[in-house]
């Protein structure tokens, strides 16, 4: 069961017998996909992995006629492990592309390592502002978003509603602060309070008591993963659900909805994608995912599926000549593939220019007792560009 002992042996043979690979038309396309597969966050990694596998199935296991091999790596939610796995992908497996990465801090450790080694990196979740701005690279693409864009959309929405006295809650760490900054970039109304909670905090009753004392008009939160599940349950139990409308980003998704259920009903999120987005690629992806795995995919999965499709478009454009990196970059810049979000284009920093929608958690097809589903209400941004691309010096 050990990871490819045969390959190690054959690689050694190759190296010693100096059999050079043919100048073009590689025999396999190797992709190293790094995500978090162990620990509580492994649930996200699993969704991404399943989506990658589904993408390969849809591609018939081939990109541009060449068999594809994806090697999965577990970063354990630690930047240094992520970097080690990336090194392993590059130097041991000698992959042609590195893809995946959930967390901004892991991405900031991994992406420069990969691009500096001359390999292409296709991010499928984390979009830290550094990579969108001064650290942008021609070898780095992402199929997701820049972190700030989603809260910007929510800020814009509340601005459009003309709300005042909004209460903001986020964990006390870099992403939490970025989210609130992004929100405030578009929301110009009065802010009732800005509260930072402990990272990984479980109980929010103290914050909810403070919140009620302030009597705001609306609440905006960023509480990803388990924090969000806990917050939503407690928000609903405290009887605040009907009282103060709750808006969030990265807090409610298809992974957390089964655990939160009715406590999420009526919740608003902004996002660039939703399972009910109406286009052929998305219908095929969501439908087949549901058929294969028995539940709805999340945006993490959609981005990862897109990541594979983006790579496929590039490999096909250079007719399998993986040495032609310039050609592949040029192809990717066109975003010429059937994305689950529909047609989009790339900005100079290789981040998507795309729509952002307002979503609402509504009762599932099985009625009130069923797991709620996210439903698109309207587009808040059309062809939105992120706020950092001007800092990116890349020209094309």
């Amino acid at each position: 069961m050990v990871r490819n002992p045969v390959r190690l042996f054959s690689a050694a043979l190759l190296a010693t017998s100096l059999v050079a690979a043919p100048a073009f038309g590689a025999d396999t396309v190797k992709i190293g996909f790094i995500t978090t597969l162990s620990g509580p966050a492994g649930i996200i990694g699993k969704d991404m992995r399943q989506s990658v596998e589904l993408a390969l199935e849809h591609l018939g296991g081939k990109m541009g006629g060449i068999p594809v091999e994806v090697i999965f790596g577990d970063d354990q939610f630690k930047p240094d492990v992520g970097k080690q796995v990336a090194d392993e992908m590059l130097k041991k497996h000698k992959v042609d592309f590195v893809s995946g990465i959930i967390w901004s801090n892991v991405m900031l450790a991994v992406a420069p390592t990969v691009t500096a080694a001359g390999t292409m990196m296709i991010g499928t979740n984390a979009g830290p502002h550094q990579l969108a701005g001064e650290m942008c690279s021609e070898r780095f693409f992402t199929t997701s978003w820049q972190n700030d864009s989603t809260p910007e959309a929510m800020g814009q929405h509340l601005q459009d509603l003309g709300l005042n006295d909004v209460y903001l809650i986020a964990p006390n760490y870099a992403a939490g602060k970025d989210m609130l900054t992004g929100f405030k970039r578009k929301f110009k109304g009065r802010i009732a309070a800005e509260v930072y909670t402990k990272l990984g905090q479980q109980d929010y009753q103290a914050e909810l008591s403070q919140l009620r004392a302030k009597n705001p008009k609306a609440v905006f939160v960023f509480l990803p993963g388990g924090m969000g599940i806990q917050f939503l349950k407690q928000y609903s139990q405290a009887g605040l659900r009907g009282q103060y409308p709750l808006y969030s980003v990265y807090t409610v998704d298809e992974l957390s909805l089964p655990a939160v259920r009715h406590a999420a009903l009526g919740q608003f999120e902004t996002r660039y994608w939703s399972p009910d987005l109406d286009n052929a690629a998305n219908k095929k992806y969501v439908g087949d995912y549901k058929k294969k795995y028995g539940k709805l995919p999340s945006f993490y999965g959609a981005q990862s599926y897109d990541g594979m499709m983006l790579i496929d478009s590039a490999v096909r454009a250079v007719k399998g000549n993986l040495k032609d990196q310039k050609g592949m970059i040029a192809a990717m810049r066109k975003a010429n593939y059937a994305s689950t979000r529909g047609k989009y284009s790339y900005n100079v920093n290789h981040f998507p220019i795309q729509n952002y929608y307002l979503l609402k958690a509504v009762a599932g097809p099985g009625g009130a007792g069923d797991v709620p589903v996210m439903q698109i209400q309207k587009a808040v941004f059309k062809a939105h560009k992120d706020s950092y691309y001007t800092k990116c010096k890349m020209k094309w």
Partner: protein, 307 residues
């Protein structure tokens, strides 16, 4: 400062405190009596929460689910003690730390294998999902009030068992003088198993009650475990009284810190500086408290005598 808000935050602190106490009681006894560092105590909390969800679904009754979960956690605790931990009592703390950390990984993965990595849905029974108006303008969730009451009842029950029963006499004797208990011809292995099992069941109870408000997911035990260690160390290891005092203090300090530290700091230093320092300091507060307590009283507030 608003008086109602202050009362409400006090209740919140109390509620967090009693949850910590349920965890701390078992841990401090296992420490005090068997001289055992059990990092896997958090795993029992997680097992309790998972079993409650599973048993509630299976029986369709919340109460039956809770009872089954408690019995189940007790059994898991007893089996763990007999199979793995029993042989570790005579080892030093290091071996215990290593082995019980191994158990954490084991239980977390086991739960992930059985129930998956996704957080489970766990809801309140209808009867407990409302609020009551304690005094004018102070509405408090019924479920949280129930946690406070259950926690205080358990504390009372423990006080009775420890001070008024033969088992309690043995437990107290065991915490202060291990050799004496064995000299009395007591079946010490059985005593240990009983203490460990009930400690696990108490942690399970904490987990059962936490299920509907927190996320039921693998690794949920470790989030609370470190705070429980802080509690028993502040209280003094091996002392139930210390565990209760430590739990209430930590619960209050943490809650009040989160609620009032930033405004309080804002009055002292500039609001922008408070904005930055407040949340950071609130996260560190209980550790700061522990360092101060241990610097002044190296054996905690209520040391069990005779170590």
């Amino acid at each position: 400062m608003n008086a109602i808000l202050f009362v409400e935050q006090t209740l919140n602190g109390l509620q967090f405190g009693v949850t910590l106490f349920l965890m701390a009681a078992g841990l401090t006894l296992v420490f005090g009596i068997m001289n055992m560092v059990n990092l896997a105590h958090g795993a029992m909390y997680m097992v309790g929460a998972y079993l409650a969800v599973a048993a509630t679904q299976w029986t369709g009754s919340y109460l039956a689910g809770v009872l089954l979960a408690l019995v189940g956690t007790l059994l898991v605790g007893v089996v763990t003690e007999v199979v793995a931990l029993r042989t570790l009592y005579e080892r030093d703390h290091l071996d215990q730390v290593l082995a019980t950390f191994g158990l954490i990984l084991f239980f977390n993965e086991l739960v992930a294998i059985i129930w998956g990595r996704a957080a489970l849905f766990s809801d309140l029974p209808q009867a407990l999902s409302g609020h009551i108006e304690l005094v004018t303008n102070l509405r408090y969730p019924v479920y949280r009030l129930m946690i406070i009451i259950v926690g205080l009842l358990v504390a009372l029950l423990l006080w009775y068992v420890v001070t008024r029963t033969r088992l309690g006499m043995l437990i107290r004797a065991g915490a202060s003088n291990r050799t004496m208990v064995s000299a009395l011809g007591i079946n010490i292995r059985l005593l240990y198993t009983i203490v460990f099992g009930f400690g696990a069941a108490l942690a399970g109870l904490a987990g059962v009650m936490a299920g509907p408000i927190y996320a039921v997911q693998p690794g949920m035990g470790e989030l609370i475990l470190i705070q429980v260690f802080v509690v028993i160390v502040i209280g003094g290891i091996g002392s139930i009284r210390g565990a209760l005092a430590g739990a209430i203090i930590v619960g209050m300090v943490d809650t009040m810190g989160r609620a009032f530290l930033k405004p309080a700091l804002g009055a002292l230093i500039s609001p922008t500086a408070a904005e930055a320092a407040g949340p950071a300091l609130a996260s560190m507060l209980i550790y700061l408290l522990m360092a101060v307590v241990l610097a002044l009283r190296p054996e905690g507030l209520f040391p069990a005598r005779g170590h």
